[in-house]
């Protein structure tokens, strides 16, 4: 894990130097937006006159002290900016993944229990369609239908600023704003979890221990929940870890469409202001989120699967 974190730093350093022009210009955002004094300070701080290995060590030193540089466009340190935007993204991620896993698992179970019948065909076709539909297009269609057409849900943003809600009303307001972005981001993963759960259920059902449970005369409900579902959840949890990175990527699209004030939207802004250093900072922090989530998933897995202790 430590090696991976170091690797991410190397990749970032490499990208920084790949950008056209002097790295100091990149670090300062677009040329001209920073003061000459700051540029000189940057050059000194990053030792841009030094050989590359020395520069790298200094870059690492900065990372270790959580110094990701300064965004002149926003007038704030990069780390502070990211800190402001991260919670919104985490909320969006949790909501969409929660929706995808719960609804996807449920649909997968229904499909598996009706394998080969109409319900299965319908669910599987739907999953196939969602799996093939670009996230941004789902977002636009949902906006057309639910915001423009039916006027049920807000078009974008995270809160109704003018309303100035407090307390419980604020929570409800955010929830209303969350529905469409979470559904947009979640539908693609819903398709994945539906397919995964369907396959896992069918696979687990053929296992010997399920036959044992039937032979023991257990109640069908207990067999389904305790023996089949519990084991079928294992690949779902594994998939969760694999997909964090991809969800963070999808967040860029969804937050852009729905003006959701998270990391993805910040990345989009940085992209258009050519604030490359901010963009790299976001890439670094997103990778860190992936690392942390994967650690959590590993932990969850040890709880769900007692055999894991052997592998460790």
């Amino acid at each position: 894990m430590a090696l991976v974190v170091l690797g991410i730093a190397v990749v970032n350093f490499f990208l920084l130097h790949l950008a056209p022009g002097d790295a100091a210009q990149v670090l300062a955002g677009e040329a001209g937006s920073a003061t000459p004094e700051y540029m000189a300070a940057l050059r000194r701080q990053f030792g841009l006159d030094q050989p590359l290995p020395v520069q790298f060590v200094q870059y690492l030193g900065n990372l270790l002290t959580f110094n990701l540089g300064f965004s002149f466009r926003h007038g704030l340190p990069v780390l502070e900016l990211i800190g402001q935007r991260l919670p919104a993204t985490l909320l969006l991620m949790t909501a969409s993944i929660g929706f995808a896993v719960l609804a996807g698992s449920a649909l997968g179970v229904v499909a598996a229990r009706n394998a080969g019948r109409l319900a299965d065909t319908l669910i599987s076709t739907l999953a196939l369609l969602f799996y093939a539909t670009p996230v941004f297009w789902i977002g636009l269609v949902l906006v057309v239908v639910f915001s423009v057409g039916l006027d049920w849900l807000p078009v974008g943003g995270m809160t109704s600023v003018e309303a100035g809600y407090g307390g419980w009303d604020h929570v409800k307001d955010v929830a209303r704003h969350l529905v469409l972005p979470a559904a947009t981001l979640g539908l693609f993963y819903l398709a994945i979890y539906t397919r995964l759960m369907r396959a896992a259920m069918l696979e687990v059902t053929t296992q010997d221990f399920v036959r044992t449970a039937v032979a023991k005369g257990l109640k069908p409900r207990r067999i389904a929940l305790r023996h089949v579902l519990r084991n079928a959840l294992l690949p779902v949890v594994t998939m969760l870890g694999v997909q964090v990175g991809s969800i963070l990527g999808g967040a860029v699209l969804v937050e852009t469409i729905f003006a959701w004030p998270g990391l993805g939207r910040l990345a989009f802004e940085a992209l258009f202001q050519r604030d490359l250093n901010l963009l790299l900072g976001i890439l670094l922090c997103s990778s860190a989120v992936v690392v942390v989530v994967n650690l959590a998933v590993d932990l969850l897995y040890t709880v769900l699967d007692p055999r894991i202790e052997l592998a460790r």
Binding site: F209, T212, K216, G217, K219, R222, R230, L304, P306
Partner: protein
């Protein structure tokens, strides 16, 4: 029901597989009985229909298969035609099953205790505590050391032999009248095999009937009272175990015994390890007449003409046209005489 009446009675059981417009019989017109405290071994090569028979006893024939025939009578009650809920109630409570692979028959994510307790609680109105106490007693009965610790452990921490003991404890959870054991020792080491078989012998002292399914005649000797030999879905011989080993009648039975390594038959030549030539015919391509004829050294033209009927003997049954020849004085069979 008297003490001598059989606890399990199978009458004219057939198992049919119907798929893509074809209908194949995996088991044909099988009848047998098991008395209390008795072990009946069902023997044959793989593909002869013995495992599917075991599943049929619990109403577990997987689709597209179907059990049909007169009756599978457990303690006088016919299981054929019972609804799913009634069948579920009988399974695990009155008739229980032990499978071949102790490595895969236990759920890897549940503790051993949980898997025994759930069996009890799905059949009887026992409290958590009662169920737990009974599970611990069961673990003791199958000689698992330190049952309290094992109770809370997951299956992967146990050896194969220990797991099979757990599976047996699970099967005994509700004191079933019949235990069906499908190749219970095949996946285990030889020394462990004997321990598990001894354990089953010990447990049936309480009056439980046992159906022991195996391909290994070595497992049968000393652990079964009677032996039923199946070939291509049909019973070809059923005799008391001692008689069957002393004077096997059906050429297939003799083949199985000859193919069994070790041991010397009293008064006979030292048997060589002889494989029965050929393989079990596929259900779709049954030879005419006796299914064993193509592999049988004693087969005559008559054998391929019609299927030999099951003939009753003094101590059992056999289905072979030439059984009269085998009963000739040179073979000298004191017990087995055509009835």
């Amino acid at each position: 029901m008297t003490a001598s009446s059989p606890v399990l009675e199978v009458e004219d059981l057939s198992i049919r597989f119907q798929e893509r417009g074809r209908s194949l019989l995996a088991v044909r017109n099988l009848s047998f009985q098991v008395a209390r405290g008795e072990t009946l071994a069902i023997v044959g090569e793989s593909g002869c229909g013995k495992s599917i028979t075991a599943l049929a006893l619990l109403g577990l024939v997987p689709p597209p298969g179907r059990a049909e025939g007169k009756a599978i009578r457990l303690e006088g009650r016919n299981l054929l035609g019972l609804g799913p809920e009634a069948l579920r109630d009988v399974r695990g409570r009155r008739i229980a099953m032990v499978f071949q692979e102790p490595m895969t028959t236990l759920n890897p994510v549940l503790t051993i205790g949980e898997q025994i307790v759930e069996t009890i609680r799905d059949h009887e109105p026992a409290s958590r505590r009662e169920a737990r106490d009974r599970a611990l007693t069961l673990l003791e009965r199958v000689h698992i050391p330190d049952p309290v610790r094992r109770f809370g452990e997951h299956p992967h921490r146990l050896s194969g032999g220990m797991r099979q003991r757990v599976v047996i404890a699970m099967a005994l959870a509700c004191n079933p009248a019949v235990l069906v054991a499908d190749e219970p020792t095949t996946a285990l080491d030889v020394t462990i095999q004997a321990q598990i078989l001894d354990l089953i012998d010990e447990l049936k002292q309480g009056g439980m009937g046992v159906v022991l399914i195996t391909h290994d005649l070595g497992v049968v000797a000393g652990h079964a009272e009677r032996v039923l030999v199946m070939y291509a879905g049909r019973k070809v011989e059923e005799r008391a175990a001692a008689d069957l080993f002393a004077t096997p009648l059906h050429p297939y039975t003799r083949g199985l015994i000859a193919a069994r390594p070790r041991r010397r038959v009293e008064g006979g030549e030292r048997p060589r390890l002889v494989e029965i030539p050929g393989t079990v015919p596929s259900l779709a391509a049954m030879p005419p007449g006796c299914a064993f004829a193509p592999r049988c050294a004693s087969a005559t033209e008559d054998c391929t003409a019609a299927e030999p009927p099951l003939t009753s003997l003094e101590d059992g049954q056999v289905a072979c046209l030439r059984v009269g020849d085998f009963l000739a004085p040179s073979h000298s069979l004191p017990h087995a005489r055509l009835a």
